[in-house]
């Protein structure tokens, strides 16, 4: 039988957990009661146990508590089509491959900002958009003329692959004047859409009169505590090419 006091703490912890599940974040300044409750070690510990059981983790930045799902989280989920709609709109102009290219652009940006292998992965404050474009170009150019009949590239399960991404990048029309983007499928047009989406997610700021991308503190923390955390290397590496590890169901 639980004691009255413990039962109350359990109720408060569950309430905090439900708020995190519902909104994904809690502003501890606005929700000062929750902030006070979390100072209680036992409540905090119960919330931690609930969050861990939900295959997620929490962290606090600037008085806001965030709930982030782990890679292997099977309960909280979304699909790529939902993201595509949010990032590129509902028009059928953009196939799923365009979304993959946008992901590639964003990961390239991350590779420029968080290069460090030591305690702090962050090595610079910001990157200019033209530098991101030339870096993506530099990485993808060698793959423009890859033989697409190579069995390595025709595995139907590996949908997000270098051949698709590089070909799409190659045909994405160059457009030099960013202020009059007529062709939204141009390289710069796609870069704009990518970072506008991640800006809305609170991960980057488009600064210095829209020529520079600066990561937010939230992104810094997610990268430090999640992607580059030494304990997660194994689960991240496993994702690449590793279809044999998955219970894969064809569409």
């Amino acid at each position: 039988m639980l004691s009255y006091e413990y039962r109350k703490k359990l109720e408060r912890a569950t309430n905090i957990y439900h708020n995190l599940i519902k909104y994904g974040e809690i502003n501890l300044e606005e929700e000062s009661v929750i902030g006070t409750e979390l100072q209680d070690d036992e409540i905090r510990e119960i919330v931690d146990v609930l969050v861990t059981n939900a295959e997620s983790f929490i962290f606090e930045i600037n008085k806001t508590l965030y709930l982030i799902p782990e890679v292997e989280n099977k309960i909280l989920s979304f699909s790529n089509s939902e993201i595509k709609e949010e990032m590129l709109g509902s028009s059928s102009t953009y196939t799923m491959e365009y979304l993959y290219l946008c992901y590639y652009i964003f990961i390239t940006f991350l590779s420029l900002i968080y290069e460090g292998e030591g305690y702090n992965p962050k090595t610079r404050d910001s990157v200019r958009i033209d530098e991101i474009r030339s870096e993506v170009d530099k990485r993808l150019k060698p793959h423009f003329n890859v033989d697409s009949d190579d069995p390595k590239y025709i595995d139907f399960k590996i949908k997000f692959n270098i051949t698709i991404v590089s070909k799409l990048w190659n045909i994405a029309e160059e457009h030099k004047d960013r202020k009059n983007i007529k062709n939204q499928k141009s390289q710069i047009g796609l870069i704009d859409k990518t970072f506008e989406f991640f800006r809305r997610q609170g991960l980057v700021q488009i600064t210095n009169r829209k020529i520079e991308i600066t990561p937010t503190k939230k992104l810094d923390e997610i990268i430090k505590q999640y992607y580059t955390h030494p304990g997660r290397e194994h689960s991240l590496i496993k994702l690449f090419g590793g279809v044999e590890d998955e219970q894969y169901q064809p569409d």
């Binding site: 519902k22 030591g118 030494p230 991240l236």
Partner: protein, 513 residues
């Protein structure tokens, strides 16, 4: 000598510059812009944007080069100096230095002369720039005044000018002192920032040097400012009375200047109060960062370049793409519950439960991969062994033992365990976790009770309830121990196997009375 390296970097950037080299003495212009930053940052305590710098450069070039430069060209030049030279296009300047403590490691320090801040509304955000402490240092060093003496010397001048009644000069002197005290405050703020970002950016000697400087002169200087401010107030009162009796324009002007002196002295005292607050916190921040760094310091992180290489070589399935991006996206996407997967998940758990016999606490939910299960189990066994060693040696040594004593005893009594534990980063993780707990203390009794009451999952991270529960289940004699604590024993740093650098701590156990 850290201040010398920026000059090298700037000289190199200018030597490689493809623009403006023929038209202007770029090195001079760069240092003039740096001085402009210093003036704005220290005198007005704010940043300035590139248009402001362009305006300044336009005036300067018109007067000194006798050349009419359009504002647009001045803007290009300002952007080039600030963004391409000082900010190196957003990439940090890095300075490699040898770490003398290990003799092997090369430290990688980040050099910044200016720092940026984003201002403006969402659609029109732009950068403003402020000089860093290192930038100030570069400029001050060129004056060849010893750092520790600057405030004292200027203070002496101020007192003399005030005594003589030269309030104009006294005011200029307070302005200089205000700049110096702001620089001192910025220096401490930046030291704290460097410690927080990466403790490898700073060596303990830098903090000691800062402390020494503040301990010797700081309190004396602070008292002198307060004493002088009292004298200034008295003088203001006297002047007010004199003016009331007989108005005099000269005295009115004196009163105006002395009031400005008093305003500046107020600001200086405020800066000193801020310095005092930061000074008190710096040791705590350093100690926490040091112990945090033990946790991660021995491991190299995975980089996004490696992830891109893996992607380019192997690709990703649609499902794994979602998994990779999931932690980045807000709950607007993540809140949708995937019922099919929950069902599958439940089925896996139910089937696993059927196979289990007695130990239903070892609920490996989510860890369906056997190799992963084994890995987590192995990590937890390590944690249990480490905690056992800490308790055993503290207990047998009369309830308390220092880390160096423990390692020495372990080396003599159980050399194999010593080899295993001292090279295991988890050993330091356990120390850090206890040290980070409230009151540096872990209550074994409460943790064991929670372990018994709740169903816990073993994880790769150190979870007290689970580790303590498992250990106390195996070693019943430990159930008369109330708790374990760790406290700092001295400032001595011990280096273990040329790999881990850690403050010598004292580990102790408290038994139930």
């Amino acid at each position: 000598m850290e201040w010398l390296s920026p000059i090298y970097f700037i000289a190199e950037k200018i030597a490689n510059a493809k623009r403006y080299k023929e038209e202007y003495e770029l090195m001079n212009l760069a240092f003039i812009v740096l001085l402009y930053f210093q003036e704005i940052t220290l005198s007005e305590d704010r940043g300035c944007d590139v248009e402001e710098i362009a305006g300044f450069l336009k005036k300067l070039i018109t007067h000194h080069y006798d050349k009419d430069i359009p504002f647009r060209d001045a803007l290009d030049l300002a952007t080039f100096i600030v963004e391409d030279i000082f900010r190196n296009g957003g990439a940090f300047f890095r300075l490699n230095t040898r770490d003398f403590t290990s003799e092997k490691n090369i430290k990688n320090m980040v050099i910044k002369l200016i720092e940026t801040d984003q201002v403006g509304l969402l659609d029109d955000q732009y950068n403003t720039y402020k000089i860093t402490n290192l930038g100030c240092e570069v400029l001050f060093r060129t004056l060849e005044i010893d750092k520790t003496m600057r405030i004292s010397m200027e203070m002496l001048r101020l007192q003399q000018e005030f005594e003589k009644g030269n309030y104009d000069t006294a005011y200029r002197s307070t302005q200089e002192l205000l700049n110096l005290s702001r620089q001192l405050r910025m220096e401490i703020e930046e030291t704290i920032r460097k410690i927080k970002v990466n403790i490898d950016l700073i060596v303990k000697e830098e903090i000691d040097e800062l402390h020494n400087r503040l301990d010797i002169n700081f309190e004396k200087e602070r008292q002198s400012f307060e004493k002088l401010l009292n004298q200034v107030y008295t003088r203001i009162e006297m002047l007010n009375q004199e003016i009331e009796l007989e108005y005099n324009q000269h005295k009115e002007k004196m009163l105006y200047m002395i009031n400005r002196v008093s305003e500046n002295l107020d600001k200086i005292i405020l800066e000193f109060a801020k310095v005092l607050r930061f000074k008190q916190g710096i040791d705590l921040v350093y100690e926490k960062a040091l112990i945090d760094s033990i946790d991660i310091g021995s491991h190299k992180r995975i980089t996004f370049n490696k992830l891109l290489d893996d992607f380019e070589g192997k690709g990703l399935t649609d499902e794994n793409t979602v998994k990779l991006m999931k932690p980045l996206l807000s709950f607007k996407f993540n809140k949708r519950l995937n019922l099919k997967k929950i069902f599958e998940e439940q089925r896996v758990i139910s089937e696993n439960k059927k196979e289990k016999t007695n130990d239903n606490r070892l609920d490996m939910k989510g860890l369906v991969d056997n190799s992963e299960k084994e890995r987590v189990k192995e990590i937890n066994e390590h944690y249990i062994k480490i905690l056992d060693t800490l308790i055993k040696y503290s207990y047998s040594n009369g309830g308390t033992v220092t880390l160096s004593e423990l390692l020495k005893a372990l080396k003599n009594n159980e050399p194999e365990v010593y080899e295993e534990i001292s090279n295991d980063r988890n050993f330091y993780v356990v120390l850090v976790r206890i040290y980070q707990s409230e009151g540096r203390y872990i209550n074994l009794v409460n943790n064991y009770k929670t372990y018994k009451d709740l169903k816990l999952i073993p994880q790769s991270d150190f979870v007290f309830n689970y580790i303590i529960g498992k250990l106390l289940d195996r070693k019943k004699s430990y159930r008369n121990i109330k708790g374990i604590y760790i406290e700092k024993d001295s400032n001595e740093l011990i280096i273990i196997n040329n790999r881990f650098k850690v403050t010598n701590v004292r580990i102790g156990v408290e038994t139930i009375a």
